[in-house]
């Protein structure tokens, strides 16, 4: 009896130990998020001790590395915005169109072949897209612009925007496809019963029902485009340029972060710390976008009672 109790005790102790190990493993994901937040936040605070926050947000001159350097990030935000808009302009129609075709028109067999093909696009590393944008697409853009009598630079915002758009097609198409398929079939049948054509059923019934999921996918794609680094580092410009012309060169938040950190500046210099200030803005914006996206998809899941998303 005694040995039985001691064995039970040691087993209970072991159980507690294992459970503790499991909990601490789960905590690491939390630690990582906070690690990112605080490591960026503290360095960004250091930066704002040196330079004004207000000028950082609204200033139009970004000139690191010179005497009297200024850190006005508005042209950088503008460049990021322009490239992201181009990317979404490419990715949303194509991604959504592909998703609709796969979920509504294609036979299951065709779909089984098409979906992995689109997923290859998602599996290609971004450095490869960057190489493709810089070596192949950028000269094509220059040539195309020449043909219509315009002048484009070899690191135009258009080239990197288009390639980035293609890169995020799978983000939109894959999630939208799942969402559209999760819309209950009864809705489609009711629409057919009322004499609607297939096109009308999709446009007026299925898509509005799936809209929260589609918006969620688009927000996720937006956050991905904002944070994408390699394509713009390799194909977009380095010059902060406050312009709306997509044929000019522009720089983005991520490009500026990379350039600030691969330079030969001291870690405590405002040049290096400015990367963390930009990183903080990027973190906050993408976090908000992700939160909205997640809550939209959760609401969709609750409404149609699906667990497969």
């Amino acid at each position: 009896m005694n040995t039985f109790e001691s064995r039970k005790k040691s087993r209970e102790f072991n159980e507690k130990l294992i459970k503790l190990a499991l909990i601490s493993a789960a905590t690491i994901s939390i630690l990582t998020t906070f690690g990112i937040l605080f490591s960026i936040l503290f360095e960004a605070i250091e930066f704002f001790k040196l330079r004004s926050f207000w000028y950082f947000i609204t200033g139009t001159t970004w000139s690191p590395g010179v005497i009297g350097s200024q850190f006005g990030a508005l042209p950088i935000f503008a460049g990021t915005f322009v490239i992201t808009i181009i990317a979404l302009g490419v990715a949303i129609p194509i991604g959504l169109g592909s998703a609709i075709y796969m979920s509504e028109y294609a036979s299951p067999k065709v779909r089984d072949y098409l979906k992995p093909l689109l997923e290859i696009l998602a599996g290609i590393p971004s450095v490869v897209y960057g190489f493709f944008a810089a070596i192949t697409v950028a000269p094509l853009v220059v040539k195309a612009a020449e043909m219509v009598g315009l002048e484009a630079t070899f690191n135009s915002a258009l080239a990197s925007g288009i390639v980035m758009g293609i890169m995020i097609i799978p983000t939109i198409s894959s999630l939208s496809d799942d969402v559209i398929r999760a819309v209950p079939d009864s809705q489609r049948k009711a629409a057919f019963g009322l004499g609607m054509t297939h096109g009308e059923t999709i446009k007026d019934i299925v898509l509005p029902s799936a809209m929260p999921g589609i918006i969620s996918a688009s927000l996720l794609a937006l956050s991905k485009a904002l944070g994408e680094t390699m394509v713009v580092v390799m194909a977009a410009g380095l010059r902060p340029n406050l312009s709306w012309n997509p044929l000019e060169d522009m720089t983005t938040v991520t490009v500026t972060i990379v350039n600030a950190l691969v330079g030969d500046f001291e870690f405590s210099s405002p040049e290096t710390l400015s990367a963390f200030a930009l990183g903080l803005i990027l973190f906050i914006v993408t976090l908000i976008l992700n939160m909205i996206s997640l809550s939209l998809i959760r609401k969709f899941k609750e409404k149609y009672k699906v667990n497969t998303l």
């Binding site: 493993a25 990582t32 509504e104 190489f131 054509t197 096109g199 390799m234 691969v262 990183g279």
Partner: protein, 395 residues
């Protein structure tokens, strides 16, 4: 006949005069969706065609048959090993390695051997019909050699056995491949156990409470944080706070591990959830406790799914570049690292460095490197899909 048909239409209470237009619009919509899908696939085709077209030439490189003299003088200044007229057309880097060659083969000393010597990158580019910087007289000389059959294009073994080099024809992927392997070993050693343990906790042990939900939201967010911010974390915490050497596979592996974690957790949870409850209940019925049930019954059944997810996570980490640039893994690494604390570079970072070089041969090698990288990634994905298919259990 015609009149009757018209009458029929007019009498039909369901007749909609817009019906034809509506059907056309439906067809147009279908065409639009098909076009967008075809565009995505066509892009993939164009992309692969373009990369392969650019990369294939790099797998062959020009060699020139030259008399190489091995003596004191040529060991001292390796340019004297070949005749003066050849000096500008053979590779400087190849000649620079002559002392090493003599060290390995002492009987070469004081002999003159006819050898296939690696050509200069400009000669190689000229022969491939790309942009080159050869002068008129050099072009004539190369053409003459070519006509005599003294130039041959051989398989580019250098590309797979050398590290990076400042001389284009001598640059290879080897040290980057070793760097990638070391980095990914660290990544998996850290991310796999933590990821699986987190998944087990969330699926098997945790109740539905605030803490669990917080972890879940956290993991979802972590998956969507831009990669470059993980680089900032690595720089600020691993390098500046913990003092891990910059550019080392250790710091790169740890950073990538944090990025791979969400992928492993999500796929492991899905695999654990797919194991039916009857297995667990049968275990409890036999008097097993929770840990025994999980360890001996649920985990083995979920393992193929966990493995598949981990391989996909590994493939993802393998192609990641941005955070590694931030932590300095784009250093110039001619020799492969042998420990995880030495400076190293990884394959995608090496490709990034080459893509920024002005010489045509580096561009060619970048495309070839992309082919190697994509081949590895596609193989990993195929293995993952194969494993899933092979061990998939239908409950």
């Amino acid at each position: 006949m015609i009149r009757r048909k018209k009458q029929k239409i007019n009498n039909n209470p369901f007749y909609d005069p817009n019906l034809k237009a509506r059907h056309t619009s439906a067809k147009r919509f279908k065409k639009f969706t098909l076009t967008s899908l075809i565009f995505s696939i066509a892009f993939l085709g164009f992309f692969l065609f373009d990369i392969i077209g650019k990369g294939i030439p790099a797998f062959h490189v020009a060699y020139i048959q030259v008399d190489v003299t091995y003596n004191e003088k040529s060991l001292d200044d390796t340019r004297f090993a070949v005749d003066k007229k050849y000096r500008d057309v053979v590779s400087r880097a190849w000649l620079r390695d002559i002392p090493l060659l003599v060290k390995e083969n002492p009987n070469f000393m004081n002999t003159t051997l006819t050898t296939w010597v690696l050509a200069d990158d400009q000669v190689d580019q000229y022969l491939k019909g790309h942009n080159h910087k050869l002068k008129e007289n050099e072009i004539a000389f190369v053409d003459e050699l070519n006509a005599q059959g003294l130039i041959e294009r051989k398989f580019n073994t250098i590309f797979f056995t050398n590290g990076d080099s400042k001389i284009p024809e001598y640059a290879g992927l080897f040290s980057a491949i070793v760097g990638s392997i070391l980095t990914l070993i660290i990544t998996m050693v850290v991310a796999f156990p933590i990821g699986v343990m987190t998944a087990i906790y969330l699926e098997e042990f945790a109740g539905d409470n605030k803490f669990t939900r917080f972890i879940e939201i956290n993991i979802n967010n972590l998956a969507a944080i831009p990669a470059i911010l993980f680089g900032l974390l690595g720089l600020a915490i691993f390098i500046n706070l913990f003092g891990i050497p910059r550019s080392s596979p250790l710091v790169g592996g740890l950073t990538l591990a944090l990025m791979t974690l969400p992928i492993i957790i999500v796929s492991s949870r899905a695999a654990l959830r797919a194991v039916p409850d009857s297995i667990r209940q049968a275990g409890y019925g036999l008097g097993l406790n929770k840990i025994q049930v999980t360890k001996d019954h649920v985990l083995p059944l979920a393992f193929p799914g966990i493995l598949t997810g981990s391989i996909l996570g590994l493939a993802h980490a393998m192609g990641e570049t941005a955070p590694l640039i931030i932590i300095g893994m784009i250093a110039f690494i001619p020799d492969a690292p042998s420990t995880v604390t030495q400076a190293a570079t990884v394959m995608p970072a090496q490709l990034f460095t080459w893509a920024g070089m002005p010489e045509g041969m580096y561009i060619e090698k970048t495309a070839a490197g992309i082919m190697v990288l994509l081949t590895i990634l596609i193989s990993l994905n195929t293995i993952a899909i194969y494993l899933r298919k092979k061990f998939e259990v239908k409950w």
